[in-house]
């Protein structure tokens, strides 16, 4: 018993010691699981070349990361956050309220959101409108009225599409990938219908959210299968079912190029070149946000930004492209890198 008490006492005293504020010599990054594979690669390189401690990169999701990032300024607060979308105005205001006034924004590149299927299946090309028709819970019929999705097979949507059952595996609503899928494919697809466009206009006037409800609702009759947060699971399932399609990030398509092919969207196949040039419509920009106030306080933060924005990391031939990041075009990369290194901060009116 005595030993156990001793142990407990020592732990409690250890606890008391650590609660005292201490200087931090390790950079802390939080945020999106989509940017995680890239920031971790930079962190590792930075740790190797600087000889200091390797930054800690947490995978909390974009929204969760923003919350932690905006908690305030100080050694016990995170230095940077990964985001698979731009910071929202509301988040910027939250940051501002908590004293995080100067935020440096770095656009690191693109993540292509791809629809893909097994190499053994028939190759197909889709438009975002067709994707919306295949997967939305309610779609407009010939008369423009919203009805429950009647399409069973791809050929029901358009006779040129193969006559196979619509079966798409994708992420659950908790995933950031799912949010992007809604915004990049479903919203844009829905805008292809005149009736829904009218609805959008009406929404803006009346401040209602009817249109949003349409493109944010996925069908629940089995055509869309929520296959879990883990993209590897979807990849595995596609390899076993040649008629199914999967939704996941471009890096997973690239790593599994021996088994899978991407579906071309509006005539552009999901390739590095097409995404980088903006031809492939299903791509989203990725960001990392830094706290300017932490530069000079947390050792190495400025060098970490420099490593992230270096040609060997973010450039067209950089090591991040090997990890599946789609690099920015050269001039955009240079602009973004310069802005981050110069410590240019975000203004509220740039955001929406």
């Amino acid at each position: 018993m005595n030993k156990a008490t001793l142990l407990a006492v020592s732990i409690v005293s250890g606890l008391a010691l650590t609660t005292a504020a201490e200087a931090r010599d390790q950079i802390r990054v939080v945020g999106s699981s989509t940017v995680y594979p890239f920031t971790t690669a930079v962190a590792e390189q930075f740790g190797k070349s600087s000889g200091g401690k390797t930054p800690v990169v947490e995978s909390t999701g974009t929204g969760g990361g923003m919350k932690i990032f905006c908690e305030g300024v100080g050694v016990d607060k995170a230095d940077a956050t990964n985001a698979s979308r731009r910071i929202k105005k509301s988040e910027f205001e939250l940051c501002d309220k908590n004293g995080v006034k100067d935020i440096i924004e770095l656009m690191v590149g693109y993540d292509g959101l791809t629809l893909a299927h097994s190499k053994e299946g028939a190759k197909i090309a889709l438009t975002r409108k067709q994707v919306f028709q295949a997967l939305a819970e309610k779609v407009p019929n010939d008369k423009g009225e919203l009805v429950d999705n009647p399409y069973k097979n791809w050929s029901d949507i358009d006779p040129s599409l193969p006559n196979i059952k619509i079966e798409v595996l994708g992420p659950p609503p908790t995933s950031g990938t799912r949010d992007s899928f809604h915004e990049l494919f479903m919203e844009k697809g829905a805008e292809g219908f005149d009736t829904l466009k009218d609805m959008k206009k009406k929404d803006e006037e009346a401040k209602t959210k009817d249109f949003e409800k349409v493109w944010k609702s996925m069908r629940k009759d089995g055509a869309y299968v929520e296959a879990g947060e883990n993209d590897n699971v979807i990849v595995q399932k596609l390899a076993g079912n040649k008629n199914a399609f999967g939704i996941f990030g471009f890096s997973f398509l690239e790593e599994n190029a021996d088994k899978l092919v991407g579906v071309s969207i509006e005539g552009a196949e999901p390739t590095f070149e097409n995404i980088s040039a903006g031809k492939y419509k299903g791509a989203r920009p990725l960001f990392v946000y830094f706290k300017k106030a932490h530069i000079g306080v947390i050792p190495g933060l400025d060098k970490f930004i420099a490593e992230y924005t270096s040609e060997k990391a973010l450039g067209a031939e950089g090591y991040l492209t090997e990890k599946g990041l789609v690099a920015l075009p050269k001039d955009a990369f240079e602009k973004s890198a310069k802005a981050a290194n110069d410590g240019m901060t975000l203004k509220a009116d740039e955001l929406k």
Partner: protein, 577 residues
């Protein structure tokens, strides 16, 4: 017990008939029912065993290769110019040396004559970006190695390793004797002339492949036409099939090879040429490994190699495969046990990623958990079981403890975030906080198990102790507790095993993170085994799948050891009354 009651009870007199047909039928029915029940039990057990075996087999078959790693074992010149050009010889200089360049130079030596930027890049990509790390440690430990040639294993990159592990393509060496072959040059784009119609058969094989490709496209087109596809949408496919057919039908004069058909290479005069175009009497191609001479190659001294999987269906291209095959043929590639897996922290390169960081993180976290849980849990159990008055307050506490044991673990994570991080301001991602949260999680389990253990000590022990004049505290601590200890230990270890497998509560307090440095104190950033498994399973590189399975095996091993310890403790201290 049973024989006492059987002897002691005098049953009322009643004649029981055992040999009427009805009684016999009842008896048979009872036996049948028992046999049925037994068989249900056996079936259930078999199903459970099948699932378990399938699960373990799938994990082990994927995980075991993860413990091995392919290395290029070759002579390395520890070049002073690359490591220590000024000859300072101090540790800082030696640490900063360019060991990657040293490793690459050794690779270039092993595969001599590779020219051109693209080819060199392909060759270098076979080596891991951490290939020089082991060498660096060796040189720092022994600075006299600078300038010497030593034999060291250089780590291969994950793609090369994966290719060697599941042999990504079938390599065919066509050995039928052909005539004399004459290459036009030693490097670059060359033509190889042969006398007779030596390549006629090969062209026929390529044509057959083209025909098969065309047929599969036709099938797709027919299927889609049948289902009402518009002709325009099929245009490109039809064109592709027509083109393939045209190539098939054309006279066997010349044929281009691309990434859709099997790759063919010519091994001649010590070099290797990738065929781009072949006609019956000559081939045109690109030299991958340079030829030693442009002399005529006699029949039997040269041959054709075929990589059966088309290049577009592989992760490693023809250049990579050729270089690897060359290294393998020279006997320089070795598969070794991957000790680094147990001595390194996490990494984004699959071949460099190790489990030690997570393992140490798990141990530190569990130390905090057990240090808090065991005394608090056991003392709470003793008070509630032995000392507490039985009233509604203790009843309420009891109910709450039982309820807490069933609360989802994520709730404890939220609690940890609110209390330990936000209120007490403890560091994020620290094993200390992780341990505290997990302690809250397993405390109810330990209290319940400890109370059950205390309850199972026969009252006669307590009464005897009290009877000879011991105080209640003495009776409990000298007599009851030692007897209850095996049960308490078992409960604690099972609670710890539960804590070892938790990820959800740790997400909230920042332990789901990429952490390279192996932690050494309770307040340093750390992650734990199940979180590491979760993070690796989510990465796109195929090599991480193997690492994931290997990490699961490590976690299982730790769990088995802990449960084995529980059984051993129980057996060792168990008392029977």
């Amino acid at each position: 017990m049973t024989d006492i009651t059987a002897g002691g009870v005098s049953a009322p007199l009643r004649r029981v008939e055992f040999d009427t047909p009805a009684a016999k039928a009842r008896l048979r029915g009872r036996y049948r029912s028992e046999a049925r029940f037994k068989s249900y039990g056996i079936i259930a057990l078999c199903i459970a065993a099948t699932f378990l075996i399938a699960l373990l087999a799938s994990i082990f078959s994927r995980g075991i290769p993860g413990f091995f790693q392919h290395y290029l074992v070759t002579e390395v010149l520890v070049d002073a110019a690359k490591i220590d050009p000024q000859g300072k010889g101090d540790a800082a200089t030696l640490r900063a040396g360019d060991y990657t360049a040293v490793a690459r130079a050794a690779l270039a030596e092993a595969v001599p004559g590779v020219e051109g930027r693209q080819m060199k890049k392909e060759l270098n990509s076979l080596l891991s970006s951490g290939a020089g790390d082991a060498l660096r440690e060796q040189v720092i430990a022994n600075p006299s190695l600078v300038g010497q040639r030593i034999k060291v294993p250089l780590l291969l990159a994950d793609e090369a390793d994966l290719f060697l592990k599941d042999s990504g393509t079938k390599l065919l060496v066509l050995s039928e004797t052909r005539g004399i072959a004459t290459p036009s040059a030693k490097t670059g784009e060359i033509t190889i002339l042969v006398g007779a119609n030596d390549f006629a058969d090969d062209i026929a094989v390529v044509k057959a492949e083209l025909k098969a490709l065309a047929a599969s496209i036709d099938e797709t087109v027919a299927l889609r036409k049948e289902r009402g596809a518009t002709p325009e949408s099929l245009d490109s496919l039809v064109k592709e099939a027509v083109e393939l057919r045209r190539r098939y039908d054309a006279a066997a004069t010349s044929e281009t090879l691309d990434s859709k058909t099997a790759s063919r290479l010519v091994a001649i005069n010590g070099g290797i040429v990738k065929i781009k175009e072949m006609s019956p009497t000559s081939v045109k191609g690109e030299v991958i490994l340079p030829l030693k001479s442009t002399d005529d190659a006699a029949p039997g001294t040269w041959g054709i190699r075929v990589y059966e999987t088309p290049e577009s269906n592989r992760n490693l291209n023809d250049l990579g495969v050729t270089f690897l095959e060359e290294l393998k043929a020279k006997g320089l590639v070795e598969s070794q046990f991957n000790f680094a897996f147990f001595t390194r922290g996490d990494s984004r390169e699959a071949e460099l990623a190790g489990i030690q960081g997570a393992l140490v993180g798990s141990i530190l976290t569990l130390l905090v958990t057990i240090g808090l849980c065991l005394p608090i849990g056991v003392l709470a159990a003793i008070y509630l079981e032995e000392f507490a008055p039985k009233n509604w307050i203790t009843e309420l506490i009891e109910i709450n403890i039982n309820n807490l044991a069933a609360v989802p673990s994520i709730v404890f994570g939220l609690l940890g975030l609110a209390v330990f991080l936000n209120f007490f301001g403890m560091p994020r991602s620290a094993p200390l906080v992780g341990g505290l949260v997990l302690a809250l999680l397993v405390l109810p389990t330990i209290i319940i198990a400890s109370r059950a253990a205390l309850k199972s000590v026969p009252p006669s022990i307590r009464e005897a102790a009290l009877g000879v004049g011991a105080s209640k505290q003495q009776a409990v601590f000298h007599h009851v507790l030692p007897l209850a200890m095996p049960g308490i230990m078992t409960g604690t270890i099972i609670g710890m095993a539960h804590a070892l497998g938790e990820t959800a509560p740790l997400l909230m307090i920042g332990m789901v993170a990429f952490i390279v440095d192996v932690p050494s104190t309770l307040s340093q950033s750390a992650t734990v085994l199940p979180v590491q498994i979760f993070l690796w399973s989510d990465l796109p590189e195929p090599a991480f799948k193997m690492k994931t399975a290997a990490a699961i095996m490590v976690l299982l091993a730790v769990l088995f050891v802990m449960n084995g310890l529980a059984i051993w403790l129980r057996k060792k201290f168990e008392r029977r009354w």
